[in-house]
Symmetry: C2
Subunit: 281 residues, 2 copies
Amino acid sequence: MQKNNYNYQDQNFYITSKENPAIRHYRKLRDHKKARKTERLFVIEGLRIVRDALQYPDLVEQILITEKFRTQAQNSDSPEVFKIPEISKKIQILYISDAVGNDLSDTEHAQGIFAVCRMPVQKSIPEILRPEGKYLVLCNLQDPGNLGMILRTCDALGMDAVLTTGSCELYNPKTIRSAMGSALRVSVVDEPDAGKLLQLLRKQNITNYASVPAKNALSLTDCHFQSGCAVWIGNEGNGLPESIITLCDDAVTIPMRGGAESFNAAMAAGIFAWEIMKTKS
Amino acid sequence: MQKNNYNYQDQNFYITSKENPAIRHYRKLRDHKKARKTERLFVIEGLRIVRDALQYPDLVEQILITEKFRTQAQNSDSPEVFKIPEISKKIQILYISDAVGNDLSDTEHAQGIFAVCRMPVQKSIPEILRPEGKYLVLCNLQDPGNLGMILRTCDALGMDAVLTTGSCELYNPKTIRSAMGSALRVSVVDEPDAGKLLQLLRKQNITNYASVPAKNALSLTDCHFQSGCAVWIGNEGNGLPESIITLCDDAVTIPMRGGAESFNAAMAAGIFAWEIMKTKS
């Protein structure tokens, strides 16, 4: 990030220009995957997720707070409200005008708190796999909202990790928003080569299940998941590639009785995750 | 709808003006809930859902097709592609330029097919309730994407109906898109008074369950749903009102083991629907 000459820690000063380098930098990270990838930074917005991120203070590089938010926080007794003095001194705090806040915001009603965060170092697949682990594998998933919803569900249910291959980006602002704080908590590891990922899972004796909408597949109600298992969820429109279905140990389907021909991919992932986790003591 | 002087059935003519009354009318229905409510019309976009809608030809008032879509349909042998001559003569077909199609579209890559549909006459709650029926009740649900996803899931699983109270609009384009064709297939009945709705369910001996994130509630894994049951799902941020939780026969929670404090409302609804329906023979 470019250095600025302003003393941002001075609460009497705040940024009013949308062209301020820090503001441009935030927007660049918000809008461009390439910038996120190159700088290994991403942005988050909203009180709840910023508080979640502060559980990992090393990940937070900068917090941006609007005038309105600061005034509300100073006048509030609610423990829900973020206390500015509690933030680690290592984190840069920038005060910004409400208009600049609206410019940064991805939502209609901006809360007025934003942060720039560092991407954690990604572990390798072999490092995180355990023979008795429970995993979802997202193969060619395209919708960031779906990815976020899956992360939130896997976090709530206590799945061990989410593995991705050929899928949308974890640090897309839509993914982050839809995941709530779960994008920061769930282990997510990407392996671009789906075949290689399947081999790595097999090597740990993890059973691979392909989620398919086919009526002739094993019904989820008859499926007894092995203690170490990974359920593969495919693309929203096209499902899983045939090559992957063939390589998996079993193809499993959520039985359907009604008119819809398939489930939303996130919903299918959630129902599988629920079935895997609910019997865990 | 205003009458136009053009002979739209003439395939040599197509609308090129965004200010054409039919185009303005479509946009008005797309963008304004009030217009939809007054005219009892709504819009849909995309080949798949238009084909779904044509299963109920009386519901379809008008189909709008871009030049590009028409050319593709004429040159395609795929049974997936919509055959224009197969459409009932009662349905007005308008040909529009690709630029007009982009103007109507809610998506980045418009397929080039749109329709204006009539809202079906809503049945009353007592008309649709059966003592052994399986229902979800959406109470103050606000996100159209969530409503659509719930409809798609209930359709796939074969739930009897979705009841709404204080929730977002069924005919919002975002709901329709997220529901795929399910918004046309699933019985959805609204009753603005939540207390009255609960009484109507009770009168049919239907057991009411409140979905709550509270750890001290009955766990979904220990819940044996009565044959006639309704699960109440609350607002995305605030859950169900206390008054409703108190009036329900039981409060049930999806057990959580991880870091997320709650499920997305659509995901919770889907997991409940799955648990209710999966044991149905």
